[in-house]
Amino acid sequence: MPDTTPHPTQGKPPTLPPDDVLQALIDQRLPHAQAQAAWQALAQEPARAAAVRAQQADRLALQALHADVLEEVPSTVLQATLARAARRQQSWHSAGRWAGMAAAVLLTFAAGWWGRGLQQAGDSHELALDRQPGRQFSAQASVAHAVYAPEQKHPVEVDASQQQHLVQWLSKRLGRPLKLPDLQAKGYALVGGRLLPGDTGARAQFMYQDAQGQRLTLYLGALPPSPVQTPAQTPGTGQPASAPAPLAAFSFSQEGPVPSFYWVEGDFGYALQAELPRQALLDLALAVYKQL
């Protein structure tokens, strides 16, 4: 539009539009004609016009600022959703709705994460519907392993170089002093740890790695109270995953994406995961158990 006429149609001088209109201009929310008029008015005040342009650029810069976050796989938070959904499903007796939701979340999760290794959708459905806290705990531990163990760039939130901070931080978040087992004798060095959401609060994951890059995770946290809770027994042979009271003691589970040994002490659960044969994993689980 040529701006040769200083007084367009209504004969009004192009007064500066009110601030609301300028904000809408910056946000590119004005209809074309109105935007044109606003720019025309701004042409009379170069300083103001420059400010508007600068703020338009700021808006674009803000949009670009953390654009990379959109591309990140939000594993932690997805797991949070999963855990919440699972808890709801657990605590709500008319479980149909929540069970459906939990399964849906799990499937979403599965689609993203287990894509290549997932056997059947039926498995995860069963997992979501599992009402036994111990099994659920180990399944969550296993999923957490499957999510973070392959991670090259950010396998942990706090790495081994800040071991003391790691232990203090996670102890604080889990509400009890934690001990970090030393698995050097077994050939596994600490990589670090992270905080994860669980269905009864915070969970911690410690990650270890051997010289070949084989990773091992220890997952721990408070368990939901269970009517069938029994005190921890001395670990012996693992029970089959289908044991009726998996909270009992030292159990082996292959339900998740990675095999897991889990056990309970008081109201606290532990699960150790790695892509290892059962006996090797048990050996490591015992080593961990003895140090806790």
């Binding site: 609301d20 700021d58 939000p74 938070v77 959703t81 931080w169």
Partner: protein
């Protein structure tokens, strides 16, 4: 409502939280708390209404509650009483993009009052309507507009300040290092110097 619908919003919630807090961990905390709230208040969401706006309303409430706490998550997170700000600075300064400009923008953003920062981000980043933002933050549209306007103007001032060596800011100009510390002050209330 289904969980897939919910999970579709997670990337945006994370990005917004990241810009709002300038910190990866604090942002994920915020998102997790928001999702937790969403799960517990699931039945309060009206099908057919805008799920995204509802989630941002929940996140606004979580954020405001966090601000009301005497010490912010970063301090409370077990980093110890000795170096909360240094940690905050490190986190702001050690991000993925690595661009100095982006770091500067994030730092300046953190110096805005929280309500201006929130308003600015909900509109600029999330492209929510002014009415939606009024609803989310629980204030009249007029307040949204003035927060937006002041937030934008302030952000510009902050971004321009270092370049112009702040000729009119303070009579006795502080050393630059001090200034860079000051920039993060709103994030974590700092020890008295």
């Amino acid at each position: 409502m289904n969980a897939t619908a919910l999970s579709e919003h997670i990337p945006r919630l994370r990005r917004y939280a990241r810009s709002l807090t300038g910190d990866r961990w604090a942002a994920d905390d915020l998102v997790q708390d928001t999702l937790e709230r969403a799960c517990s208040k699931w039945r309060l969401w009206l099908p057919g209404t805008d799920l995204r706006a509802w989630l941002f309303t929940l996140m606004h409430n979580v954020f405001i509650n966090q601000l009301r706490r005497p010490s912010l998550h970063i301090v409370a997170d077990g980093t110890g009483p000795d170096h909360p700000l240094d940690t905050a600075l490190d986190r702001v300064a050690a991000p993925d993009s690595g661009h100095e400009q982006a770091m500067d923008l994030q730092r300046c953003l953190l110096r805005l009052p929280p309500e201006q920062r929130e308003t600015l981000l909900l509109i600029s980043l999330e492209d929510l309507s002014y009415e939606q933002v009024a609803h989310i933050t629980g204030v009249p549209v007029g307040t949204v507009m003035s927060r937006l306007s002041r937030g934008r103007a302030r952000l510009r001032e902050l971004l321009e300040a270092p370049a112009q060596a702040q000729p009119h800011a303070l009579a006795s100009a502080p050393p630059p290092a001090q200034d860079s510390v000051d920039k993060v002050r709103p994030l974590a209330q700092r020890r008295p110097h």
